[in-house]
């Protein structure tokens, strides 16, 4: 057995696999399959200050080797989360990350402050949600935007702070550097690539929101590239995600520079994907006589 433990921004994870925000809810549903302690961590569904109804359906569309979603941050609000979900989650033996989203900097700050008073392990600043009109990705596109929101939230946040970045930009590494400069403890990338599908019979966009966020294996090469560019640019840990569905993908992502990785869409295709990924990762490490998974991070040898 290789050592799968990693530490991100001071937070210990039993293994580098984290359930990606929005794909594993608050953990209850996947706990039917295996103990949540199977996962190194879980990033909860994006929460907002107040309850949000989300976007009208349809919210899901399939694409070649991927999917689109336009859930639009449906969630019961931060207080409900702290009251109803967090206590249970904290007993599951997995690191718990709160993914927070807001329409204004004040929202973000209020949530960060409120969550700093709980026993949450980490806060993931979601400034990259493409499915909401106000806020969301608007803070995450320019380095200035990333820097200012991160700096604001940092003042109110005593928990380790990870900033989640959008891939719908020209230079994601620059945005990561801006987050780092403003005090982020880690960055996670990528959120979804904005996409669209149209029903050729009704001539309507398949999603009621017209566009949605693309995830799944299709986006994996883009995510690897962005993680590679970002890991060369910043000193804080990079958590890599986007399209990971096999253990080989996980190894590739870590070699590109990820200190840990998140798995999202793969849960839908196969709820046991995380178990298979961790098993494959462990075997790979053993076969290659690598004692600790941390030795993979950034070990790609570019030409």
């Amino acid at each position: 057995m290789a050592d799968l433990k990693v530490k991100i921004a001071g937070v210990p994870f039993e293994n580098p696999l984290i359930g990606a925000s929005g794909t594993v809810g608050f953990g209850h549903e996947y706990a039917e399959f295996y103990p949540l302690s199977t996962l190194g961590g879980i990033s909860c569904k994006g929460i907002t200050l107040k309850e949000r109804p989300g976007n009208p359906p349809p919210r899901i569309a399939e694409t070649s080797a991927g999917m689109l979603n336009s859930v639009g941050l449906q969630n019961p609000g931060v207080e409900h989360f702290i009251r109803e979900d967090l206590p249970w989650l904290k007993q599951q033996g997995t690191a718990v990350i709160a993914n927070i989203a807001g329409s204004t900097p004040e929202d973000y700050c209020a949530m960060a402050e409120r969550l700093s008073g709980t026993d949450i392990d980490m806060i993931e600043l979601n400034i990259s949600c493409p499915n909401v009109k106000a806020g969301g990705a608007q803070f995450g596109v320019t380095p200035q935007g990333v820097e200012s929101i991160t700096a604001e939230v940092r003042k109110h946040c005593t928990k380790p702070l990870m900033v989640k970045l959008t891939p719908n930009v020209a230079d994601i590494a620059e945005n990561a550097a801006a987050a780092e400069a403003a005090g982020a403890d880690a960055v996670s990338l990528i959120n979804t690539l904005t996409g669209m599908r149209i029903d050729i019979h009704t001539r309507r966009p398949v999603l009621r929101n017209n566009t949605g966020g693309m995830s799944g294996p299709a986006v994996f090469p883009v995510a690897v590239r962005m993680v590679w560019q970002t890991a060369q640019r910043v000193k804080i840990p990079v958590v890599g995600l986007g399209g990971i569905s096999t253990w080989q993908d996980a190894v590739e992502m870590m070699l590109a520079g990820a200190a840990a990785f998140q798995v999202g869409t793969a849960f839908f295709t196969d709820p046991y994907a995380p178990v298979k990924i961790l098993k494959g990762l462990d075997e790979y490490l053993n076969q290659n006589k690598i004692a600790s998974v941390t030795e993979l991070t950034g070990k790609v040898k570019p030409w």
């Binding site: 109804p53 919210r59 899901i60 979603n69």
Partner: protein, 253 residues
Amino acid sequence: MKYDTELCTILEKRQLTADIFDMTVSAPKLAPLAKPGQFAQILVPGKTLRRPISLCGIGKDTLRFVFQVRGEGTKVLAELQAGDSMDILAPLGNGFPVETAGADKHAVFVGGGIGVPPLLGAASAFSGEKTAVLGFRGKDAVILMKDFVHAGCEAFLTTDDGSFGVHGLVTDVMQNLTFDVCYACGPAPMLRAVVKLCAERNVPCYVSMEQRMACGIGACLGCAVELRREDGSSYYGHVCKDGPVFSADRVVL
């Protein structure tokens, strides 16, 4: 455990119409957990999203699915043969509340087209008097009629073009029936008409809904459906977890 995945061997495959297939799979792990009206998420090799298909029949250690080829995914599933296997996530959602209406009651099962299969399991499980009203486009689209008779139903058939059974809509038949509870599944216009008829008579009605899904278990919030609270306000519930069967007075059709 409420649901799980299982690699299920196809025991029997039959073709019911030009585009509807009937498959029974071995599911010793999942079948004992299942109730009529629940559904499965079936993995299609090469596809990211599983396909939601209702449980049409539940055996001791088998599950039966009746599905129509509507796109790429169901096309691939239809090409599988007896002996092949399917990766199935089931049972999901809440079934038809056939136990709440007692054996002294008369239930009507109203299905339209590919909405018929999920009702069969419910009809089989119901212990009171039962009538099935099944509507189809035409003669060539008729499925499962004998199965409903076999399940103890008096069965009425309607076709849009009059090529078989009653020429007309399921509600034309329902007009002339008396019943205490209604279970319905089918296209939205049919459901709306059925719900209206039941509401006029003040008879409880349960409908099975469809929506595009990702997780199938309530984690992704993808399969939103507009639901009504008692106070008349509405919110987004989820077909996979809160449904697929809803009390008609709670769902916005």
